[in-house]
């Protein structure tokens, strides 16, 4: 990936003049693949004039595993584990999106209990992913992992519930085409009840601790601002889009898995800066808890998996299904040519598209602001590079 001039720069080994006077050439700093706050292997080539960022160039591809090509040699069911590893922080949402697309292709009817279980685990995954996103965002602002570990405490409880049902914490591989792999174990609902009982008090703690923090305001308010029109034009999605004021949420705009039966709100920010994204994520966690409460109250019983031959062969055609994953609009586009394996398997990664706005947000700010903005966009490099 590195072009000739990069190697020259790296080999040069000397420091360009770090000067702020005029007639001085700017410093090119590689926030390289090995950097504590790039959330994975991702390189941000920043051209600095003193501390002011003049140009930011993103280099991706360090985690490319060519999943979309590999998926073409595996049957539809064998592809499900791939989707866990695309966005390893929100595996359930990925499974859900892929299974919806495959079901549309195969024309399978999903039983109501499976729909409710899918909504439950998608919302649990949103809480865990937002806990991770907000924690690392504040850690990028400089607080020494303290808020991160507090939020990890809730994330642990969610991951324990995942482990209870499908044996894995991160790469869940729980959903199948036509429903879910296993039924809910009987000890899951009591743990979920106690989780729902504790969470509001925990969130009140975070709000009391973090929202009035003067330094967090100074570091995040007015930083990494993106305007309403620019956000829509660069097709951002998820909390980054909603922070600018656009009330666009797939669970409402294009309901799937029975989301139209649950009533919940879509939080929307105003200025579209880093702090608004943080607030939108905090508010979304509360809405997810509301949905979970409704899912438990009227959880239908009955089959949790439509019976389907293991290697069903869909007739030729294409399908595109999209889901509101914690990072934004996650879409799966499948083309079948009648064979057991998909002819084309493509995933619309929300992180990559949200990341494209980073340059627009960070030019003009300082180096520290660029890092905080990157943290607030909440990218997952697995999803970007696939």
């Amino acid at each position: 990936m590195t072009t000739a001039d990069d190697t020259r720069l790296a080999m040069q080994g000397t420091i360009e003049a770090l000067t702020t006077g005029d007639g001085s050439e700017p410093v090119v700093v590689n926030l390289g693949p090995q950097h504590p706050s790039t959330h994975g292997v991702f390189r941000l080539k920043v051209t600095l004039d003193g501390e002011i960022v003049r140009d930011a160039e993103m280099r991706i591809g360090y985690l490319h595993r060519s999943m979309e090509k590999l998926a073409e040699e595996r049957t539809y069911t064998q592809n499900i584990p791939f989707t866990d590893r695309i966005d390893y922080l929100a595996a359930m949402s990925n499974n859900l999106a892929y299974c919806l697309a495959a079901e549309e292709l195969l024309g399978v009817e999903v039983p109501p209990r499976a729909d409710a279980i899918r909504v439950m685990f998608a919302e649990l995954q949103r809480i865990a992913s937002h806990a991770m996103a907000n924690g690392t965002f504040i850690n990028d602002c400089g607080a020494w992992h303290t808020p991160l570990f507090h939020m990890f405490r809730d994330r642990e409880r969610v991951l324990d519930m995942f482990e209870m049902t499908c044996g894995a914490r991160l790469t869940t591989n729980y959903m199948r085409i036509g429903g879910v792999a296993f039924d809910l174990p009987e000890e899951l609902l009591p743990t979920l009840e106690s989780f729902l009982a504790d969470m509001p008090e925990r969130i009140a703690d975070y709000e009391a601790l973090l929202l009035e923090n003067e330094i967090l305001h100074a570091r995040a308010r007015g930083v990494g601002v993106i305007s309403l029109e620019m956000a829509i034009n660069s097709s951002l999605s998820g909390p980054v889009l909603r922070a600018t004021g656009v009330p666009w949420d797939l669970r409402k705009a294009n309901p799937y898995c029975g989301y139209e039966h649950y009533e919940f709100d879509v939080p929307v920010g105003e200025q579209g800066d880093c702090f608004d994204r943080f607030l939108v994520r905090m508010a979304e966690v509360k809405q997810s808890l509301r949905i979970l409460r409704q899912v438990i109250d009227h959880l239908p019983d009955g089959p949790w998996l439509a019976d389907l031959p293991l290697h069903a062969r869909p007739e030729p055609g294409e399908a595109y299904q999209r889901v509101e994953s914690p990072r934004g609009e996650l879409g799966f586009y499948l083309v079948s040519d009648g064979g057991p394996a998909p002819y084309r398997f493509h995933c619309r990664p929300p992180s990559l598209i949200n990341l494209s706005a980073l340059k627009e947000m960070s030019i003009g700010g300082t180096l520290a602001d660029a890092i905080v903005t990157l943290g607030s966009i909440d990218i997952v490099v697995g999803e970007i590079d696939r």
């Binding site: 504590p36 003067e214 330094i215 570091r219 009330p247 200025q271 180096l367």
Partner: protein, 434 residues
Amino acid sequence: MTDFTGLTSVLGAWYDFRDLNNLQRLITEWIADWGPDWLASIITGVLGALGVLGVIGPTLLILIWVERKVIARFQQRYGPNRVGPRGLLQPVADAVKLILKEQLAPRAADKLIFFLPPVLIFVPGILIWGVLPFGPRMSVADLNVGVLFLLAVSGTAVLVIFMAGWSSNNKYALFGAMRAVAMSISYEVPMVLALLTLVVFSGTMSVNGIVEWQQQEDVIFILLFPLSAIAFFFAASAELNRTPADISEAESEIVAGYHTEYSGMRFGLFYAVELGNTLVVSGFIATFFLGGWWLWGLDQWVPSWIILLIKTGAVYFLLIWTRGTLPRLRVDQLMGFCWKALVPATLLFVVVAFVQRTLLISEGWDTTIALPIMAVFNIALTLGAIMLFARVSRPAPLRRPARIRMAGAQIGGLRAAREVASRTEEPQFQVGGD
């Protein structure tokens, strides 16, 4: 030290551990009668140094363990508990690991200037200990320019940091060095002004004199000059490069700042000196503002240096607390805070100290009545200054509150966004703003 009944025989004997000078005095007298006097002076110097290093060495190791355990507790976890009983040997394990690690040096680094800083950075750290009084007569060097000595020596640490950052030929290190230099210079001004109020009020520049003034007037300076205490605390934490002012080694931005290229025991030295400096600075905060080795007469019963260590521990916990919880300020905000808030506030308090000092001296007010009134006035002035600064200096984006609204039924693109924005009813969630 005032005598008290019953234990007079103990007073001054070598085993009177309340004043460790007795032991040293006994040894020098013993040497003086048979050896040359310059040998005696060398021995006392060595004993003083050993006393100080004896204090620093073990406390440094314990402090590394204390800091990691306390921050772990903030973060809902246990902290080191594998090596040794309850993790006590963890610092030793760290030190051994660092010693065994290979010491790398970048190819294009400036060799001479690259190898000096880990050694030189200890010099200011240890020199400052000389001026800290552990007891009425227990300080290694009771200079009558003690406060100035403290400022001068802590000023030289900046140069060593610059040498480290510049010589390791790494962009992150150079950023760290430039930030550290810019910040320490500008935070020396409020530090000087905060100490100026103390020097003016107690009349002497010697650190022991300040403590004796507090003992004589039965008041501790944090009550008289709370803003100087806050300014000194923040300026000291900026000089030490600790959060919320640790921009010179901000992991999230510039990897490890000026000591990015140092590995092995060289990095260990930087880390140890940082903790040693924190200990000695919290010792000085305790001495200047909490009355050092004196505690309303308790120092007759409890040895004075134990009182000082307890107070230092309290201030040290405060420093760990701010380090564990507060996020980091940006470089320009840090500079703005120093020049727009700390310097004017401390200047105001220097003027207040001069006025109150002349009232005490020339008007001849009786200190037992005058000091409490002045203390109340100063505390009120401090709160007023803080409120004024919080109100006045909010940058533009902070004036408008951050509001989160619930979109309710309007789900859609641009038109729906304008509709939601135009709604005037009370937002769901409002934070900040004035």
